[in-house]
């Protein structure tokens, strides 16, 4: 069980870090994690890693993931999204696809955040369509782009195949997504299918590779597929190594002091 013996509780990794960096400076460090670590912030014992239930075959048994419920989407929006992102990043012999990684839930949670309503963007009008070099200026929020974009996908599927998008065969789904990507499916005036598709693609990669705390990259499997170690305390001792070093990934969860 790689999970168990490679899992580094916060206090151990931080002590190791202090050792590598020679950072136990006598009282001189200003603030920061090092100061915090010395001051005892991470000396509290981390709990033993939760026992992972196993089946006789050694497979991890499915545990309910309470994160997998929607904050924004309707059931049908979730299903269309799930079907679309799985085609963008499909399951294959290299590993899980976007659906299994929780990408649709990731997108749902993002849309429910201030980002979904373009919270930190300039929203004062007039909204004028400019040159391509001036950016793609949408007057409506991302949540609405999604509402309309998913309808556009569903409508196009009904029209072309007389079937709902999630029920299409893979090559049919790809054909619809290609039309969207090319801009042949219009979402709404001003918002071409292309920009909705690009948004969908970006969100898919985010959901595959963002820290699992956001609801995607389930069990860090996105990272594992590309041998990305997540976040570690220090890489100093491997920097000059010629060979590739594979590590069991760590997530932000591993850095929470309990």
């Amino acid at each position: 069980m790689a999970e168990q013996h490679n899992h580094q509780p916060p206090d151990r990794s931080r002590r190791q870090f202090l050792k590598y960096s020679g950072a136990a400076i006598s009282g001189a460090v200003i603030g920061g994690v090092i100061g915090g670590a010395i001051a005892g912030g991470f000396k509290k014992k981390a709990p033993a890693p939760a026992p992972t239930p196993t089946t006789p075959g050694g497979q991890a048994a499915a545990v309910a993931d309470y994160n997998q419920a929607t904050m924004y989407f309707t059931q049908s929006q979730l299903q269309i999204t799930q079907a679309a992102v799985e085609r963008i990043f499909p399951k294959d012999d290299l590993g899980p696809g976007a659906a299994e990684l929780g990408v649709a839930y990731y997108i749902d949670h993002q849309l429910a955040s201030p980002w979904g309503i373009n919270g930190r963007e300039y929203r004062t009008g007039p909204y004028v369509k400019g040159e391509a070099t001036q950016g793609d200026y949408q007057s409506i929020h991302r949540t609405e782009v999604f509402n309309l974009g998913l309808i556009a996908i569903q409508d196009a599927s009904m029209k072309k195949y007389n079937n709902k998008f999630p029920d299409l065969a893979d090559d049919q789904k790809d054909a619809i997504l290609t039309l969207l990507e090319k801009g042949d499916i219009e979402v709404i005036n001003g918002i071409t299918g292309t920009s909705f598709f690009n948004l969908l693609r970006t969100l898919t990669l985010e959901g595959v590779y963002a820290d699992p705390l956001y609801g995607g990259n389930k069990n860090m499997q996105g990272w594992k597929m590309r041998k990305y170690p997540g976040n570690q305390m220090s890489y100093t001792n491997i920097m000059e190594k010629a060979e590739f070093v594979t590590m069991e990934p760590m997530s932000l969860r591993d850095h929470i002091a309990h």
Binding site: I25, I30, G32, R226, Y235
Partner: protein, 573 residues
């Protein structure tokens, strides 16, 4: 109505690197200083959960809130400028430490050529070499005069670098304060390849501390851990030099410095000859305050330095039609493009690990280090490789012809996740009469002030330069022996959408002549002797290097000017 605060000797607008440097140095000299920062206070503890690509690199957690303020942009004055509604080409800083918190730390000095670019170009190639409309201008200071100030910044920050230096870069009076960063296998490949080609590679000067270091102010910081979350992130170890872990603790210790966060300055008060203080709005309560001061220092980054001058009607606005006036003139940027990407099918590198300024560069095609007689452009680019930590959302390189999604994309992006290397130029940007900053006629910020409007495009000069540099990056990459290479040698029009660099320069430029510059070589304003405008806004052009080393040097020089002014008044040059 604004509440009037008690008068202070010095008020600083903006607490990034430059505000921090000036606060530390003046308060050490016993001068009372108030620092106004529109954003929130910050401490290293805030970065405990910082290894989060989505939050910091993709959602710009540490950057300016664009819902309150942004810039507008157009390529030419024939177009209508539109707001940059979401982040793209550059990322603006906000909060204590400004962009100094989430920078990479690549800390170069501009070349001796840069400071005397006009004279030296004319001397070597004749006047005709400078095309019509290109406003090349000397800086009013030489490299040698600025050298001690460069060192001062490097010493405070603990900049690392090699002891031996090629004469192609400016001569140093003292070696770098810390040893170079670790040379990884990737950097060695670049070093071998460029040496074989007869070039002069050197380790990038770095503000990510290569070893534990105590600076002259007695501040000790730990070594960089090569954590790979540097650019766009704060450093949870305090290893990356930033204002909060270097200069601000020094200012705080003196008892002469008062920081006021959540304070957005909206006006510089003046009578046409001298400033009397500033007006700011508390961003939490909305209350207005007037802060009278003997000296007003603008350190609010290029855009707000220029914008505050224009909205406060201080100095002569630049008119691109007549070429008269100065405020807003010589806006420049950085010319990126022409990189060569190598795919190494049967190798794997530890690309997930890295540091913001871990890299190597050759100076052979920067500045005037090569003969331009038969070339259609001036200046050049630093050509470099860097290992800053390839994070998985943003880095999914695939060879040309690979679909951008679906099974094949997945396969190829996983295959090339750890074996794709890039050699890229960071090109200079030279000033033109029709590139400038002024006030947008339509769009306003949250306080009702017009947004800064940028009129800028890439020119043939830039396209020629990128074509030339692409041939060099390709040559170097070939020598590194990848399985396949992708190169692009075309530079399109300037586009505000893709991130390029936060190296905006000009608009309140320095010089020896008040009719062609806003500030003198102490960054003191010609039109208001008690106003100092500090930042890359002072650059008459941008070099093929990151700006902050040079900006830091100018800030230390400005400190000397401010101190002189506080003693004797008048223009200090």
């Amino acid at each position: 109505m604004a509440t009037k605060m008690p008068k202070v000797p010095v008020v600083i607008v903006g607490m990034g690197w430059l505000g921090g440097i000036i606060a530390a140095e003046l308060s050490k000299q016993g001068v009372k200083v108030v620092g106004l920062e529109r954003g929130k206070p910050r401490a290293t503890e805030d970065y405990y959960m910082v290894h989060d690509e989505l939050r910091y690199a993709m959602r710009y957690d540490l950057m300016q809130d664009l819902s309150k303020e942004t810039i507008t942009f157009r390529n030419t004055s024939k177009m209508t400028a539109l707001p940059m509604r979401s982040y793209g080409s550059f990322l603006l800083g906000e909060g204590l430490g400004g962009s100094g918190i989430h920078w990479n730390g690549q800390t170069f000095r501009f070349l001796p050529y840069d400071f005397e670019i006009h004279s030296k170009t004319v001397e070597r190639y004749g006047k005709k070499k400078i095309p019509d409309g290109m406003l090349l201008q000397d800086w009013g200071i030489t490299y040698d005069e600025l050298e001690p100030y460069f060192y001062k910044f490097e010493e405070v920050a603990g900049i690392s670098g090699e002891q031996e230096q090629t004469p192609m870069v400016g001569k140093r009076s003292k070696p770098f304060p810390t040893k170079p960063m670790l040379k990884t296998p990737i950097l060695k490949m670049f070093e071998d390849a460029t040496k074989k080609l007869g070039y002069h590679p050197y380790m990038m000067p770095s503000a990510n501390l290569s070893e534990q270091y105590t600076n002259p102010d007695g501040i000790t910081r730990a070594a960089c851990q090569y954590c790979g979350y540097c650019e766009r992130f704060g450093c949870e170890y305090g290893a990356k030099a930033d204002p909060v872990v270097t200069v601000l603790p020094v200012a705080n210790k003196t008892g002469n410095f008062e920081l006021r966060p959540y304070s957005n300055v909206v006006e510089v008060l003046h009578d046409g000859k001298k400033a009397s203080g500033v007006v700011y709005v508390n961003t939490v309560t909305g209350e207005r305050y007037e802060q009278p001061a003997d000296v007003v220092i603008l350190a609010s980054y290029v855009f707000n330095n220029v914008r505050l001058l224009l909205t406060s009607k201080l100095g002569k606005p630049y008119d691109p039609k007549t070429g008269k006036g100065v405020v807003g003139k010589n806006y420049c940027y950085q010319t990126n493009g022409g990189s060569a990407t190598g795919f190494f099918d049967d190798k794997e590198f530890n690309l997930y690990a890295g540091a913001g300024s871990l890299g190597m560069e050759i100076p052979d095609f920067n500045g005037d280090n090569f003969d331009h007689t038969n070339l259609n452009f001036l200046h050049g680019a630093g050509i470099r490789i860097s290992q800053t930590g390839q994070r998985p959302i943003a880095t999914n390189p695939v060879p040309k012809g690979t679909p951008t999604w679906g099974a094949e994309f997945k396969k190829q992006s996983l295959k090339y996740a750890n074996n794709t290397l890039t050699v890229s130029p960071q090109g200079s940007s030279l000033p033109w009469q029709h590139h400038y900053l002024d006030l947008d006629p339509t769009f306003k910020d949250a306080y009702g002030l017009p947004l800064m409007r940028i009129t800028f495009d890439f020119e043939d000069q830039d396209r020629e330069m990128i074509k030339f540099m692409a041939s060099k990056t390709e040559e170097i990459m070939k020598e590194m022996n990848p399985t396949s290479i992708g190169v692009s040698n075309k530079l399109g029009p300037y586009n505000i959408v893709p991130y390029q660099s936060t190296h905006n320069t000009g608009g309140a430029i320095m010089g020896a002549d008040p009719s062609t510059s806003v500030v003198n070589s102490y960054l003191q304003m010609w039109d208001a002797e008690n106003v100092f405008v500090v930042g890359a806004s002072a650059f008459p052009h941008n070099s093929g290097y990151n700006p902050t080393g040079t900006v830091g040097a100018l800030a230390y020089r400005a400190v000397d000017g401010i101190a002189k002014y506080l003693k004797s008044g008048g223009m200090v040059v």
